[in-house]
């Protein structure tokens, strides 16, 4: 039989330091989530395909890994955690009082282009707060996004806020066919300054035009809110962001918060605040979230929801984690197992191990082979250090 000794494209074995990085990030995040009153939900790795198609969360179907079950139904490896959690909250948890605070720590699967260097398995840690609206809910979420990246001990990072409502208000004022609006949105999302100018040229006379033209540039510090107000006039979504910022600054989060009013991705899905986290050293956002008040209704329960997910391995790659080095090998005599184990347990994890050898000579050889610095001999005469 021909056994495949390689892993499938886009998957890999994670060894040692990569595992430590992942676990370190996961445990920092999970510890924070629990402290803030979030409880864990584990959903199946495999779900029905329809769940992700009908949920309104636009995951391109070609990126889902599909399986056909024995009855012919199409299933997918979970490409996202939010839809399954919304399903759970709308069904099994529907009798619990709101708001519900849920967190997850699981893998999502997305098929990518071959040889693009990305993994098909993405470890995600995230939270969902279901059934809470208003500034306080949004504040709690943004503050936790900042604390999440801080808990991972990242030195340089920021959370960037946007609002789906700002673009919607502007686009609503434009007398533009739907198709062209979509082109406009894509140009703003891609910060294609030149293309945007061309698209807006025929609509020069309209009020919202000046603000839309500047939209891709409206990112940076809190000053962009003032500029946006000057361009677009008074606007609920800008006031909302302004209130969030002053509360966040008051609480000491201001230095980590920035804005991008040109965050106009997945507008069918996000209904209010949207945010992303950027880290020095990562070429893409490592945290992404927002408010999706329409999602739960798709599963038969009306409830607002806001949440975010952290790309655990992208954060882990920015950390400098080293695996511990073996220093000491313990050679113990008959009847001394308990003492030997106590000694192993008293050393830092990974720096000390027991020798399975019968003679001291083979233990010395083993220690030499594994690069340990010393052998700790435990026999009836006591304990002695022997240099290797």
């Amino acid at each position: 039989m021909n056994i495949h000794i390689n892993t499938p494209e886009g998957t890999r074995d994670r060894l040692f330091a990569e595992c430590l990085e992942r676990r370190q990030v996961q445990s920092a995040l999970v510890e924070l989530f629990r402290r803030r009153g979030y409880t864990e939900v584990i959903t199946p790795d495999v779900e029905f395909y329809d769940l992700f198609v009908q949920s309104g969360n636009p995951i391109p179907q070609e990126t889902m890994l599909k399986i056909i079950d024995r009855s012919g139904k199409i299933m997918v490896m979970r490409p996202d955690c939010t839809a399954p959690i919304a399903r759970v909250a709308a069904t099994k948890l529907k009798h619990l009082a709101l708001p519900q605070r849920l967190y997850y720590d699981q893998t999502v699967f997305r098929d990518r282009q071959a040889h693009a260097g990305g993994s098909r398995e993405i470890a995600q840690c995230g939270v969902e707060m279901i059934g809470a609206v208003g500034d306080k809910a949004d504040l709690e979420m943004v503050a936790m996004a900042v604390d999440a990246l801080r808990a991972c001990t990242l030195p340089q990072f920021h959370i960037e806020l946007g609002h789906a409502g700002f673009y919607r208000t502007l686009a609503g004022q434009m007398n533009m066919p739907q198709e062209e609006l979509e082109r406009l949105r894509a140009a703003i999302e891609g910060k294609s300054f030149a293309l945007l100018n061309d698209l807006l040229e025929p609509y020069r006379g309209e009020d919202a035009c000046a603000a839309l033209r500047r939209l891709p540039y409206l990112f940076g510090g809190v000053e962009v809110l003032d500029e946006a107000r000057k361009l677009a006039g008074p606007c609920d979504s800008l006031d909302h962001l302004g209130r969030l910022y002053s509360e966040l600054s008051e609480a000491g989060y201001g230095g980590c918060v920035r804005f991008d009013l040109g965050l106009v991705h997945q507008l069918d899905y996000y209904t209010g605040l949207v945010f992303r986290g950027y880290v020095e050293g990562a070429g893409a956002p490592v945290l992404s979230g927002g408010r999706y008040d329409g999602l739960m209704e798709q599963f038969g329960r009306r409830a607002e929801a806001i949440g975010f997910a952290v790309d655990v391995d992208a954060v882990g790659a920015c950390l400098d984690v080293e695996t511990p080095k073996l220093k000491t090998v313990i050679h113990y005599g008959p009847g001394l197992l308990a003492r030997a184990l106590a000694l192993v347990d008293s050393h830092p994890a990974g720096s000390c191990e027991l020798s399975p050898c019968r003679t001291l000579e083979s233990t010395m050889n083993l220690a030499r082979e594994k690069g340990a610095a010393q052998v700790l001999l435990v026999d009836c005469e006591g304990e002695r250090w022997l240099p290797v």
Binding site: S192, F193, A194, L195, P216, V279, A284
Partner: protein, 213 residues
């Protein structure tokens, strides 16, 4: 603290035009003009490092964030796609994608499935999908003009500049697929992390663009 930016330029003609534009904007590009064996060229009077790459690699480097900026043709952007900001149309490297057939051939005048050869299968697929037409697409790596001559394909989708090569080989462009020119692309995270540095660079380039127009 000012961060040094890194830009990937598409080797060849786009590289020359980019360097001309940067020099007009006051950047000293001597290290790029006489590259020697070095692969990364630090500009002496501006915090910018230049690397030279093949067009699709420019996108790869920018997407992964190892280069903050890139200059690449719209043809490659359309064919390869990806997640990055496509901020400026640099105006040079202008040409067009066109559908070309053997002179006198009525490409659309049949219900038989047409076969189209191209170096750009994704662009070709999107073009005919937009028309609701099923076509067989054959990917050709070298001179695409050969495919219709050898009767491998009914037409080709390719970059056309003057049309001279087509004409010499008995082919003619019958329809435009897309306009192409050089684009300045930016990594999404770099745009946010090094906003001041990137804005400064963009405004210098934009000033040159404005001057030309």
């Amino acid at each position: 603290m000012s961060e040094r930016l890194r830009i990937a330029l598409t080797k060849g003609r786009l590289q020359e035009k980019s360097v001309e534009m940067f020099e007009a904007a006051g950047l000293d590009c001597t290290p790029v003009r006489s590259p020697g064996r070095r692969l990364i060229h630090a500009l002496p009077n501006y915090p910018l490092d230049v690397v030279l790459a093949k067009a699709p690699d420019v996108i790869t480097y920018v997407e992964h964030g190892v280069c903050d900026l890139g200059v690449v043709g719209k043809d490659t952007v359309l064919e390869k796609g990806g997640a990055f900001y496509e901020v400026l149309d640099l105006g040079f490297g202008r040409c067009r994608f066109a559908l070309a057939v053997k002179r006198g051939c009525d490409f659309y005048g049949t219900y038989k499935t047409r076969r189209v050869a191209s170096k750009y299968p994704n662009v070709t697929r999107a073009f005919f999908e937009g028309k609701g037409m099923d076509v067989d697409i054959i990917k050709i790596e070298g001179s695409v003009e050969l495919a219709p001559i050898l009767d491998l394909a009914d037409g080709i989708v390719d970059i056309v500049e003057t049309g001279a090569t087509l004409k010499e080989n008995g082919l003619e462009p019958i329809e435009d697929v897309a306009q192409v020119s050089a684009r300045l692309i930016v990594n999404t995270a770099a745009m946010k992390l090094y906003k001041n540095e990137i804005t400064d660079f963009l405004s210098r380039v934009e000033r040159e663009l404005g001057g030309e127009a």
